[in-house]
Every structure is written in C-alpha cells, then in structure tokens.
Symmetry: C2
Subunit: 230 residues, 2 copies
DNA sequence: ACAAAAGTGTTAATCTTACACCCATGT
DNA sequence: ACATGGGTGTAAGATTAACACTTTTGT
C-alpha cells in the first residue's frame, strides 16, 4: 500500500501546579518561528523512534526541567485541520501534575521563558491551546473526585487545610471542613505524621501523608475513592 | 523549522452492538496487505484534508455501511512503536455504539468480511487491537454508569427488561429489578409508550422510550445521570 | 391450571448533610 | 486577653439495599 500522508504528530502537556491556594498552569513563551513570543503549552513534535510518552517527558525536560508526579493522556486534537498555521498537525495532549510549591523553573532552555499562570488569569495562548486548557481543567475537576490525584499537587506531607483548600479551589465550591476530614480519614489512606506544619498563626496543625501503598492495596480489594459534596 | 517526521496517523473504531443479551463487537477481515485475512477493528489512515472525526465516519461507512448512534474518542495508541509491522503508525481510537438488532452489514466493501463477535468470544485480532478492545470495554463499562449511553445500543422503543439486561450484562453484575426500574424512572427521562413489545411468553410488556430532550434539559439544570448498584 | 415474564412497596441500614463550640498557639 | 486557624460530634434527612407476591398473557 502506497501511503502519502502529510500530517505531523505533536504532543502537548498541560502542567498543573497548586501554589498559594491557586491552581496554576505552566506556559512557555515560544522562542522560535512565526509564533515567537506567544505563550503556549509545553510541547513539540514526536520523534520517529520515541513513544508518545517519551516525547512528552522529553519536552517537559527540555523546556522546563520539572519533575511531574502524574501524567495522563487527555485527548487528541485533530479535528481542526488548520490549528497550526504552518501545516497539518495533530496533537496528543497530556495532563501533568506537579508539586509546584518549591519548584524551580529552568531559566535557560528551548523556551524563551516559562511561567506559572493562575488558571483564572491566563494570557492569550497560541494555536488552539485555549480549548485544550479548558478540556484539561474539566478533566482535572472530574478526576479529582474519583481518583486521589490531589495529592500529586501538594507536598508529600501536607496540612489537612491545604488538601481541603485544594478541593474547594479546584472544584470551585465550598466544602464543609468537618465532613471533608471525616470522609478522607474514613478511607484510611491518609495518615497523621508526628510533625507539625510551620504556620505562623493559630493552633499548630499536624502534617498528614498520603499512603499510596495502602491505597493501591485497597483498590485491589475493590475500594473506590470518591469525594463528592453537595 | 525543518521537520522530518515519518509517522502515519490512523483511526480505529471499536463498534459495540447489543444483540441477544450479548455485547458484541464489530470486526472486519483484512482484504489486503500482510495482514490479509486477520480480523481487525474498523479503521484506516487519515487523509491530509479530513478531520479525525471525518476519517472515522468515512471508514465506518466504507467498511461496514452502518449508522452509529454514538461516537467518542477513546485514546491514542502510540507508545508501541512497532504496533504496525509496516511502519510507525499511531492510532486514534474511537468507541462507537450502534443498535445492532436490525442492522444489515454490507457484504461487499473495502473489507473482505465484517462480522459481529460476542465480547467474550473474540478471535485473535491484528496489531494491538486486543489491547484497544480491552480499553474500549472498560470505557464502556464506566461510562454506562454516568452517561445515558445504554439507550444507544437498543431500539428507540424498548422493554424495561432489555435495558435492565443490558446493564447487568455489560457491567457483569446482578441488579435488583425493582430498584433498577425505580431509579431509572425517578430520573424522569424514560417514558412509557402506549405500545407493547411482542414477547411470545409471559405477561405483555410495555415499550418505553428515552426522552433525550428532557435529559439534555435536566443536564443544563445540573442533573447527573448515575446508575450504580452494589 | 400452569408456565413465564411483568409489574409493584416497604423497611432497615447506610450515607450525607447541616451545623457550632472548644483548643493550642503567637502576639 | 485576643486573634487565628485547628480540631471535633451529633442528629435529621436522604438514599440505597434487600426482599416476595400478584398480574397478565399464551399454551
């Protein structure tokens, strides 16, 4: 079979972080090409001999140098034939979660600049990246309720209030503090440590830890993580 | 930017049907090439000037002539570089649902043969299609519980017992008949018709209809479809 | 009259929601 | 002593789960 096909394959990553009680997205400023100086998602073309996964990880490494806690394929954008003005490109988009609190972004790299933007204060972005971002945010919101991915956005040891805030912020709703704690603890996958967070105000708060092993074990026994409040 | 990339983009469709209380999958027998006579998913290469969606619909038309009720992108398979022995291909897979009960498959077409297979009695399939089928089945199972897609697998007017059986079969569990009916009816999206099904045995059963308009309206008001039994 | 599938209600148990006061620390 | 955020329990309401007999038809 002779096959003349001229479609290029790219990957893009929507990298979410969580800092100062805000959901953040990592964008880079294009260094080259027609779209120079526009903000865009981390991404690039897939090499002939690398998997899609390898491609995203490579781009993440090259453009930002960050280490992600979670990576999941989101969707493949290929219904807008002219989404890239240069030639036909389909993009396989991935959602990545990182603990951004202490993350240092590489200053020098393939990208001219890399910055965190609050999800509510996004700049104009290149291509169809606005649409991709929207889809990614929706996915994050829904997945948060049935998979323990919130833990991938905060430090290994965290305050209950941080976790609670994360849920309130990302799901954009109020959650009763007592009910939230009760439910999370009832799962038995979050455990108290001996340490305390260094708050400046109020009663010192214990640090907690997500026990992923326990979670995986419970999942095998049929456990379903589910956080959903009115 | 010079871009030498030699990756081909294909689409594949996992077409589900439901007949005789069994979940079925449509496979075609390859007519050409190295993989001649192997069973495989409906699919093919994307043309330069068609969207991914158009590509799947075209392939469905060309290879089977069926009309689908539901089509949804599933996942893009591109982590196995040698999934196609000929050259590097990434495949964007779609799940399609059809009402197969009265469907006539085209005999002549691009495919040598097209047949329904029960999900539990699948033949060997080409490429990584076994993996794709598994993922599709998982998606179908989970989506069935939170989207009203079961209706896309049965006739417009159906018996409650058919719907119930569909859920039991696809989710592979027993569901209490009374509780099931109660819950579905409580949503107010399924309505009784005046007609009766033509059963040969037992008390005649009323036909019901899914009111999609009502459903869409309720969704706007925040309604969440959810069927989940112990 | 009997076989076969349709249709139907109630109760106990569980889960969810709503809600307010005391505690431990720093200033 | 006060301001700040942390920590905790209970009761009412809603939802889910379990369960069996009657109805309508064809044979």
């Amino acid at each position: 079979m002779e096959l003349k096909q001229n479609i290029k394959v790219a990957v893009d990553a929507i990298v979410f972080g969580y800092t100062d009680n805000k959901l953040q997205v990592l964008l880079i400023k294009q260094k080259f090409g027609e779209l120079k100086n526009q903000w865009a998602l981390v991404g690039g073309f897939v090499k002939d001999n690398e998997t899609l996964n390898e491609a995203v990880n490579r781009e993440l490494q090259e453009e930002t140098g960050i280490k992600v806690n979670y990576l999941e394929q989101l969707y493949t954008f290929g219904d807008n034939i002219t989404r890239d003005p240069r030639f036909r490109v389909i993009s396989v988009a991935y959602v990545a979660l990182v603990n951004s609190s202490k993350m240092v972004l590489k200053a020098d790299s393939d990208a001219a600049d890399a910055r965190w933007f609050s999800i509510n204060e996004l700049p104009n972005v290149a291509f169809d990246h606005k649409e991709i971002l929207k889809k990614a945010y929706n996915r994050l919101q829904s997945k948060l309720t049935y998979q323990p991915i919130g833990f991938d956005l905060i430090p290994k040891e965290f305050l209950f209030s941080e976790l609670e805030n994360l849920y309130c912020t990302i799901l954009a709703k109020e959650i009763d503090r007592r009910n939230f704690r009760k439910k999370i603890l009832s799962f038995g996958i979050v455990e108290e440590t001996e340490k305390f967070g260094n708050k400046t105000k109020g009663r010192p708060a214990k640090l907690y830890r997500f026990n992923r092993l326990k979670y995986n074990q419970l999942v095998k026994e049929g456990f379903l993580f589910d956080i959903n409040f009115a």
